[in-house]
């Protein structure tokens, strides 16, 4: 019941909010925050109660749902999902806190949208029935659409429609693939109709079937990641989204794609994974470098961070498709880190934006003089994102590169350059914003240092960034059984891992 409780607790929040009066904004905010904090505590309890050495899924719940079609309400977590679950509950309340004052319009709807968004994301990470997974996957789409569309910036309508159509088309193709899997499994397993991940993996599908299914999954997951060349919706969505939306979008929504590859594409379609492995590595390498290069030339602060996400998520895909333990563990850890770091960077951008309502890098400067505490926080997150040893970003990228060199040193070397580029654009950005003289003098009065609630949400992120950087084993220990299980399923057909 614990997992259901975690997933549906936001719904309780919605039920609490519904009868409240829209004018009573602080009550709405506090209620949402309390519910999300409670959810976060529950997921911390889950982390503590989780057995790190056991393989397989834990805290399972498995009851019939659409019984007549053999579809079940099956939840469960392994090391991979438990980390992402924690990340989700953490970033959710942080996101709410980050727009504590910025959002004054339709607060009630805003809070409801965030609670539903959290519900959908949590559900995606724990669903073990593909159909249930799909339902949660799509639930995520609508609140995000609303959040960008209602509380977003000037070009919000364009951004939302683009975001929705990109992801919706991908998802629908995935739906067809899921249903094809349903029948293919039934055909191969004596007519047993199920979409249970634990059972789907026991059957060997012919390659000719795996390829189209892989492509359909790719359409859904790669858009979410987003993998070059399907990333074009991301900068638009980020620029228009309110800070909290950006945090969730970068921190968690992008992880859904990586999670999908890890949980479904790789284990269920091992041969197609090997078949498309080189292509995926190529795309990932391009994404890594492309994202970094484009970041270099951005004039908008938020867009810069958005493109850096494309680069970092490229690392995740790289790590997944090298198909060795280092790569996979690195990829998962990189997802976790990226959630923390990029989430934090967006928060930092949001803090300044809330004060001066400007994100043009050229207009800003000298912030360190006016906001010294902020500058300190921001430096840690920035350096973490660069990949400085001792901070979170380093561990993930290092492991991914380690894995990559084991498979293709060319991809490894090319990706290495991206780290150098990242150092370039992030340090430049930091110097530009923090130290150069402020051109727009009248901003000086607005640039007040961090408030208490802002420190409150940056502090846990800071602690985690250092923790992961200094002692990553706490987190990697969660991953070993899950990763070896994925590798075992993926290498059932031999191939890339052995090369």
């Amino acid at each position: 019941m614990l997992l259901s409780l975690i997933v549906f607790l936001p719904l309780v929040g919605v039920a609490l909010l519904l009868p409240m009066r829209p004018e009573n904004k602080s009550l709405l905010r506090v209620t949402t925050l309390v519910v999300m904090l409670a959810d976060c505590l529950l997921s911390i309890y889950l982390l503590l109660a989780f057995n790190q050495s056991a393989s397989g899924y834990q805290f399972e719940e498995n009851i019939p749902w659409l019984g007549s079609l053999g579809l079940r309400y099956h939840l469960g977590v392994d090391g991979l999902s438990v980390l992402l679950l924690f990340l989700t509950t953490l970033l959710s309340w942080i996101a709410i806190l980050s727009t504590w004052r910025a959002v004054q319009l339709r607060v009630k709807e805003y809070m409801i949208a965030f609670l539903l968004l959290e519900l959908g994301m949590l559900g995606v990470f724990v669903a073990l029935d593909l159909f249930l997974f799909y339902v949660f996957w799509e639930i995520v789409l609508v609140p995000m659409y609303v959040i960008i569309g209602v509380w977003g910036g000037p070009r919000k309508i364009y951004a939302t429609i683009k975001f929705f159509l990109f992801t919706f088309i991908g998802s629908l193709l995935m739906l067809v693939a899921i249903l094809a899997l349903y029948f293919e499994h039934a055909g191969l397993a004596n007519g047993v109709r199920t979409l249970d991940v634990t059972q789907l993996g026991n059957v060997h599908y012919p390659l000719a079937f795996q390829i189209p299914v892989f492509l359909a999954f790719f359409a859904a997951f790669a858009v979410k990641v987003p993998l070059w060349p399907l990333h074009t919706w991301l900068p638009d969505a980020h620029v228009e989204a309110p800070t909290a939306g950006s945090v969730i979008l970068a921190g968690i929504l992008l992880k859904l794609g990586g999670y999908g590859f890890l949980r479904f594409s790789v284990p269920l379609l091992p041969e197609a994974t090997h078949y498309f492995g080189p292509l995926m590595l190529t795309l990932a390498t391009i994404a890594v470098v492309y994202g970094a290069l484009v970041s270099l030339v951005q004039k908008d602060w938020k867009k810069l961070v958005a493109y850096s996400s494309v680069s970092h998520m490229g690392f995740v895909i790289l790590g997944i498709f090298v198909l060795n333990p280092q790569g996979l563990e690195g990829a998962i850890l990189e997802m976790f880190n990226h959630g923390l770091l990029t989430g934090a960077l967006f928060l930092c951008v949001g803090i300044v934006y809330e004060r001066v309502h400007d994100r043009e890098l050229a207009h800003l400067g000298g912030i360190a003089r006016y906001m010294p505490v902020y500058a300190a926080f921001f430096m840690v997150f920035m350096l973490g994102s660069v990949g400085l040893p001792g901070l979170a970003g380093f561990v993930g990228e290092f492991l991914v590169l380690l894995g990559t060199f084991g498979v293709s040193s060319l991809a490894g070397w090319i990706s290495m350059t991206a780290i150098i580029l990242a150092a370039g654009y992030l340090l430049w950005m930091y110097a530009r914003v923090m130290f150069v003289k402020l051109n727009t003098e009248h901003y000086a009065a607005e640039l007040v240092d961090l408030r208490a609630h802002e420190v409150a949400y940056l502090l846990p992120l800071l602690a985690l960034v250092i923790w992961v950087g200094v002692y990553p084993d706490t987190w990697l220990n969660f991953l070993h059984p899950a990763v070896s299980h994925i590798i075992a399923q993926a290498s059932a057909a031999g191939g890339l891992a052995a090369r």
Partner: protein, 479 residues
């Protein structure tokens, strides 16, 4: 008593007609309650018959089986929801209550007998009872040019379609020598399927029914008729007669012509793809919301038809088959479409037209609950989980993939994505654009309760779909 629900509706129709004549003008709104009561009682009798062994009545003219119960449930639910949405609109526009309700009852009666018919003759007469009543409903706002025109277009093309349909029926009788559907199937089983006459009969019947359910290229009447008719009548037309026409389609093509399935499967698959694609593409260009919903309803006919194309002979006991998927989709479609039209009626009742997208500006602020309900319906029509529309589409796609028509499934998925564009436009207008407040929305407990019912159904039939799936699975016709 196999036809008790039908009898109740007949009595109701007559009573409404009578009371309309004798009641003084100011007491006529009481007719709403009478109509509600009648339909609810009929619905109770109807549901009571679920699961009782199939029986035949009136010399094999009608059958009382689960199929009938399923469709009657659908029709009566439609009727109840339409009665709930109508009063405010009718009062605003000074349309006659009594005539509306009694014609509604007659149409529902025709629909119920259409679903129950097991003989070509009773099928034909029932369909005609339904459509003639609906022609009049469409033209009920006789002072408005648009309504007259809608009625005329609907009538001319409807009569044309009936003529083609009945000519097809005459050939079906000619090929088999029977009018009883089961006996026709018996004869067809014994004959060869590459008979050119049989193909011609299939074509005639498909064209005839194609007009009634508004398939492309026989859809030309739909947008005009839907736009011009009074909105509650439009809501009814887009759900009731369409569901009944699908029931007739199933009775003809499954009960009677099931053995000829290989002959028509591909025909319907192609019609389905044509219908959904063309309708969705045209719907994107609409600026009138009623017209947009009309094209949306055409597109949904295309989706529903996928179920028939994917029907496989001998799949009677299979849970994953085209027919239960088709029926489940009709069930889902009823609530979300009626809900959407009810909101159109609600928004326009205070105005002369009130049908353009501009009239929905900032509805999210002017009427938050209504806007949430509309969002729910639009998302469900798009097929976003966990709403009912999603499960309907998923089930149809499932059936299409199962019958080996993956291309049909992909076409449906792509079309859902196209449709997202225009459904979301409504949401965008409601929440993301501003307006200077103009027309005050009025209050009507009827329409609010109707919206509550429709949105709850849209939500719960989705999240807890299983009982409803079983309802549809338990109601299919044997092949």
């Amino acid at each position: 008593m196999a036809v008790l629900p039908e009898v109740v509706v007949t009595v109701l129709a007559m009573l409404l007609l009578l009371l309309d004549a004798v009641l003084p003008e100011h007491r006529k709104s009481g007719l709403t309650w009478l109509a509600l009561l009648g339909f609810v009682v009929a619905g109770a009798f109807n549901l009571y018959q679920w699961g009782s062994p199939a029986q035949s009545a009136y010399g094999g003219m009608v059958g009382a089986d689960n199929f009938t119960v399923f469709f009657n449930t659908l029709f009566l639910a439609t009727a109840i929801l339409v009665v709930l949405m109508a009063p405010a609109y009718l009062r605003e526009r000074a349309l006659p209550f009594g005539e509306f309700y009694s014609l509604l009852s007659f149409a529902v009666l025709g629909m119920m007998f259409t679903a129950a018919s097991t003989d070509l003759i009773s099928l034909f007469v029932s369909i005609e009872l339904m459509v003639i009543a609906v022609y009049i409903l469409a033209g009920l706002a006789r002072r408005e040019k648009r309504s007259n025109e809608a009625s005329l277009k609907y009538f001319l093309l409807g009569a044309f379609a009936s003529a083609i349909l009945v000519y097809g029926m005459s050939w079906l009788y000619g090929i088999t020598g029977q009018t009883n559907l089961a006996k026709i199937a018996g004869v067809l089983k014994a004959t060869s399927l590459d008979n050119p006459l049989l193909l011609m009969t299939i074509a005639l019947l498909a064209v005839g029914v194609g007009f009634k359910v508004a398939l492309v290229p026989f859809h030309a009447w739909t947008p005009d008729a839907y736009e011009g008719a009074p909105t509650p009548a439009t809501a009814f037309m887009s759900v009731g007669p369409k569901a009944a026409a699908f029931a007739a389609l199933l009775r003809i093509f499954i009960s009677a012509m099931g053995p000829a399935q290989p002959d028509y499967s591909l025909l319907f698959a192609i019609l389905a793809v044509l219908t959904m694609t063309l309708a969705n593409v045209v719907a994107i260009q609409q600026n009138n919301i009623k017209r947009m919903l009309a094209y949306s309803s055409i597109a949904h006919s295309g989706y529903i038809l996928v179920g028939l194309a994917a029907a496989q002979p001998g799949a009677g006991s299979d849970q994953v088959a085209g027919i239960p998927a088709l029926m489940f989709y009709l069930f889902v479609y009823t609530f979300m479409t009626l809900g959407a039209f009810a909101i159109v009626a609600y928004v326009q009742a205070g105005q002369v037209t009130g049908e353009s997208f501009d009239d929905y500006r900032a509805l999210g602020r002017r009427a938050p609950m209504t806007a949430i309900a509309m969002t729910l319906f639009m998302l469900s029509l798009t097929g976003v989980p966990p709403l009912a529309g999603f499960f309907g589409k998923a089930y149809l796609i499932l059936a299409a993939v199962h019958s080996g028509m993956a291309w049909l499934a992909v076409a449906m998925a792509v079309n859902s994505a196209i449709s997202a564009y225009y459904y979301l436009r409504v949401v965008v207008v409601m929440y993301m654009s501003d307006t200077t407040e103009r027309v005050p929305l009025y209050r009507s407990p009827f329409i609010h309760s109707m919206l509550a019912v429709a949105s709850l159904a849209t939500f719960f039939v989705g999240v807890f779909a299983d009982p409803f799936l079983r309802f549809a699975q338990g109601a299919t016709l044997g092949f």
